[in-house]
Every structure is written in C-alpha cells, then in structure tokens.
Assembly symmetry: C2
Homo-oligomer: 96 residues x 2
C-alpha cells in the first residue's frame, strides 16, 4: 500500500477569502467524517495574499478516487469554484 | 491557537536515496512517538528524481520550536545532512 500525498494550490479572488474559508471548513469536516482512506486534509494560508495550499494524504489511489467522487466534494467543490481566481494547481506525491 | 504547516523540499544526492529514506523513517517514528504538538509528519517522493517533500503540521509555533530543539531531530538530522544535495527549502504556512 503506497500512500498518496497531494498539495493543492488555490488562488482566491480578492474579497472572497472569508467565504472560501467557510466553505472549505465544511469540506474538511466532511472529509474527516466520511473518508476512512484519508489521513490528512487541511487548508493553510501562504505568505501570498489570497493564495492557499491544501495538504492531503490518502492511503492509496482508491481513496483519492473515493474523495473526488464523494457527494461532499462535488457539492462543496461547486461552492468553492466561484471563489477561485483560476484552476487549482495539483501536485501529486508518493509516500516514501 | 493557529496551526503551522511546513512543506520542506529536500534534494538527495544520486545513490543516497535508500539511506536517506531509512534515516527519515526513524525520524518520522521519533516525531510521532515524542511530539504531542505535531499532528502530521510524512515524507513523499515527487516526480523529480531525488527530490522529496515533507508535509508537516504543528499545533502552534511552540510545537515547531520543540521539534527543532528535540534530540531526535538534531541527531537524525545530522545523519540526513550528508545525503542531501543542498540546503532544504522550507515553506511555512498558517492554518486557515
């Protein structure tokens, strides 16, 4: 079993930071409550205004797929989209 | 209490990957066993040969300082150093 790490960089439109953080908190709670294959899912602010990074860790590829297919990711992701200034940048990593 | 996230990028010399990963596994075990203020500490391989990223999360700044001052970080860090191809690149993040 090889863990999968993801670092997602999200750029939020000026003035939408609070709305973004609020919806993301709902998403993180849903991930923690419903995804047995996820071991870490947390939003961080970077030093650049409006730029956030999400650190994520999954037990395996199936757990990543389950995350992306989940109702909470689809419904809350749809609410996050209008806050963003562009497409998320996703870096995928492999547990060592 | 504001969580602190760290993404550390480490470049390992060719041929030293296995030694590096072995020492890092000892370090991660020591962090998990001894640092109550750390909630995540995991090594990942990136897509670039010899380039690793560590995802770290601490409860607060004091927990980061306790990590850096710990005997396990100092002693095992000294063993990791000779495997590296340059200084680690550290990105510090703030929990949102």
């Amino acid at each position: 079993m090889t863990a999968i790490g993801i670092i997602a960089t999200l750029r939020v439109q000026p003035g939408k930071e609070e709305a973004f953080e609020g919806v993301f908190a709902e998403l993180a709670a849903a991930v923690n409550a419903n995804e047995a294959g996820n071991s870490f899912y947390k939003l961080f602010r970077t030093e650049a205004a409006g730029v956030y990074k999400v650190m994520e860790c999954y037990d395996n590829e199936a757990a990543v797929e389950a995350h992306r297919a989940s109702e909470h990711f689809r419904s809350l992701g749809a609410k996050l989209g209008p806050c963003l200034a562009g497409a998320p940048e996703i870096e995928k990593l492999t547990g060592a």
